[in-house]
Amino acid sequence: MKLKKIFTLLLSVLCLFSLTFCSKKAKLSNDTLYFNLETEPPTLDPSKAADTTSSLVIENTMDGLTDYDFSTPDLKIIPKVAKSWKITHSGSVYTFYLRDDVYWTDGKKVTAPDFEYSWKRIIDPKTASEYAYFLFDVKNAQAFNEGKIKNIADVGIKALDDFTFQVTLTKPVAYFLHISTFPDLSPLRKDIIEKYGDAWTEPEHIITNGPFKLTHWKHDYQLILERNDNYYGAKAKLKKIICFMIVEASTALSLYQTKKLDIIRQVPPLDIPHLKNTPEYRSGNYLSTYYIGLNTKKEALSNAYVRRAFSAAINRTEITDMLQKGDIPTSTLIPQGMLGHNPSIGIPFNPTQAKEWMKKAGYGEGKKTFPPITLLFNTSETHKTIAESLQSQWKRNLGIEVRLDNQEWKVYTNSLQSSHKEPLKTSFDIFRLGWNADYPDPDNFMSLFTSYSDNNHTQWGSKTFDKIVEKAKLMGNNPQKRVELYNQAQKMLLEEEAVIIPLYIYAHQSMWRNEVKGAKLNPLDRWSLDEFWLER
């Protein structure tokens, strides 16, 4: 009897709950978009931002000199605060003419000195900006950053008047206009930064000039952007964007599926197979390449035939099929969608050829036995899957034993950096990395493997390769010639020397509701939220 009463009571409580909550449906308006930012932006100070989350918020709240037109296949550079520009002195001097109708959120006009302050601030050693090197092509910028010259007036950054901004380069590099699109080089208000110090980026102090303004920031949880009604360009269609910082992709997906979020920028890998055929699943390719690198100083990999054999023994499609993320198999470094991309370059899958090369290197039946080698990767399920596939393919196609080793991310990056000092003492022979384009220019990829690059962990260096890349960098006025030079450099890097083995071009996955209009994926993973609107 007693039990019966308890159960009746429990049942009533449950019914009450379901009545209360099932009927409680949040009213969603067309003015407010719920967006997953994924992580806390480490900073909203443009001069210090060095990550994608910070950049995403900054590019929606700040407008720089130029921007990309993502509707064009070659990502054309279009005016933003600069209404036009002039390139003189054979490509060494850039003069930007600014609009005179751009205002800060406090009503003051955006002027050339605001750009001068921002660009000089990023190279100031006191700012300690990670991305200062983006301006190292500017006259004396590197010397000033390294403390070799003390007078900032000697740096080639100058406001000629209130609406004319001039930059002088040391060399006429082809990609400089891309640099001018960087959110890190947005104009800044000297008075605000000096008044509030590090706290200037908090909502109560921040002054911006973009389509949205920051009105609320609950750290590690939520950030609110509201439309800037005094924006000089086309006003944003959304009034408010509520950005959550949900790191766990499966939690974000649960919230998306229960209508608490309108856009998620990441789909959990395990959910991709059953979501990829749904209409709200969106996938596109980045300008980024996943590759493995070979430590050429290690005896086993010092022979180019061996390295070529390693490349020819990999069926890249087998890897991308296993990952099921829509990545595009590639044997070239410069990704699809970028000047210089040439799918015919690189060593394709050819196990017979691979065995031939191993024989030429002195390994195989009746010859030397290839010593076991180690492939190192940073701890992650995806990298583990790839490493295991490579291990099995090399065993299958070349009969080579490869040990797998993984390290936590910071230990891993430290191991890669340490390998520059003592290449023979490292515990690994092969490593993995990926490269996302900072800007859509092939130099961003090719200069990685120059002999003086800190990102070249292969320990391989060639003066010829360096010269080709340096030459191509300065051929901005001759794209055809540039492509020829990059073909030459890629052939050297990937076919003759085979010091790196590209595997695939990354795909990114997002989901957004069909009610979200105007959203498009782009190869740089930029999110221009002012172009979005809702039709709920």
């Binding site: 709950f17 379901s18 909550f21 099932c22 806390e40 480490p42 900073t43 100070d45 210090k48 050693p125 006191k126 300690a128 900006s129 990670e130 200062a132 090197y133 590197q142 950053n145 390294e146 590090d198 706290a199 980026t201 609950k218 750290h219 590690d220 949880y221 959550f244 910082m245 949900i246 790191v247 766990e248 499966s250 939690t251 974000a252 649960s254 919230l255 599926q257 229960t258 608490k260 936590e408 991310w409 910071k410 230990v411 891993y412 990056t413 430290n414 191991s415 950096q417 990395l433 990926g434 690059s453 800190d454 990102n455």
Partner: protein, 306 residues
């Protein structure tokens, strides 16, 4: 009582300093630094950044610099979240973890103690088996699984509660509190049962019954009070652990608590934040243990705080 508490606090100060020193040494021995990245930073720029945070000084100098700040109550700046101090980060995140933890602790005591009592009192019956089934499940089931199951049933299937977020309404708190509280419920229930089974057989309980006392006062006055000692012992570390948050629960429910900093500060090699959260945890653990010692005296007059 007050001199005892003051004495305990005084003794704890060197403990904190030893802990700070050990943490400092361990984190600096660990390979990888805060500014090691896949996109290599040119050495000159890295030098500028390291100079800004005094990481260019010798290690002993960095240690004394940090300790000097610590004595003045300055936990330093975060290396990852630029412009934010470790104190700010803790101030923002600790109250959330404390709130969640206190609810979970309340749930743990509210359910754990009665479950333990029922299991012991109805020893060998189906009530005992059911209570212990809940307890064993609570201990063995990993919290991410519990959280996932709760979300699946109560968010997806029933649509009663949100699948995550921390928006202020109590409907946002039910699932994370339940997921966080289940394990402590289980621990307390099991402890309570074991301890009560011992006490029930004690001579003074038999005497109380022989005196003709009814069952309820026997349980409440004689058995419960004495059975609580082991539960109180475990409550200190349990409480300190629970109010500093659970990485899994906060991660799964997207709660802006402090627990994630225990993990992310290490993966980011954010040295001052590692020190800050470790020290906060230590302080809370010490305070919880002092509280336990005081509670001992309240529960059992044989134990004297002095």
């Amino acid at each position: 009582m007050i001199p005892f508490i003051l004495k305990r606090i005084f003794i704890s100060i060197p403990v904190i300093f030893v802990l700070a020193t050990i943490t400092f040494c361990i984190m600096r021995i660990t390979p990888g630094g805060p500014f090691d990245k896949d996109k290599a930073i040119p050495p000159e720029i890295k030098a500028n950044i390291e100079a800004k945070y005094h990481l260019d000084r010798p290690l002993w100098s960095q240690y004394f610099y940090y300790m000097k700040g610590l004595i003045q109550g300055d936990l330093g700046p975060s290396y990852k979240y630029l412009g934010r101090s470790v104190t700010d980060i803790i101030k923002d995140s600790l109250p959330v973890s404390v709130e969640l933890g206190l609810y979970a602790a309340f749930l743990a005591f509210l359910l754990g103690i009665p479950l333990g009592i029922i299991a012991a009192y109805k020893h060998g019956t189906w009530l005992d088996s059911s209570s212990m089934f809940i307890a064993i499940s609570g201990i063995t089931l990993p919290s991410f699984l519990v959280a996932a199951l709760l979300i699946y049933f109560f968010s997806f299937k029933m649509g009663w509660f949100p699948a995550g977020l921390w928006e202020g309404g109590w409907e946002y708190k039910i699932l994370p509190v339940a997921a966080l509280g289940l394990r402590p419920v289980a621990i307390i229930a099991r402890l309570m049962r074991t301890s009560m089974l011992d006490v029930i057989k004690a001579d003074y309980v038999r005497t109380a019954r022989a005196k003709g006392l009814s069952e309820f006062p026997v349980i409440l006055k004689h058995v419960l009070k004495n059975s609580l000692i082991p539960v109180i012992t475990i409550s200190g570390p349990l409480l300190a652990g629970i109010i500093t948050g659970s990485f899994v629960i906060e991660h799964v429910f997207a709660i802006p608590g402090m627990a994630k900093h225990f993990i992310l500060a290490v993966t980011n090699r954010d040295y001052p934040l590692i020190m800050g959260v470790t020290l906060i945890y230590a302080v809370l653990l010490i305070l919880a243990n002092i509280l336990v010692d005081v509670l001992y005296a309240v529960i059992d007059p044989r134990i004297k705080v002095s």
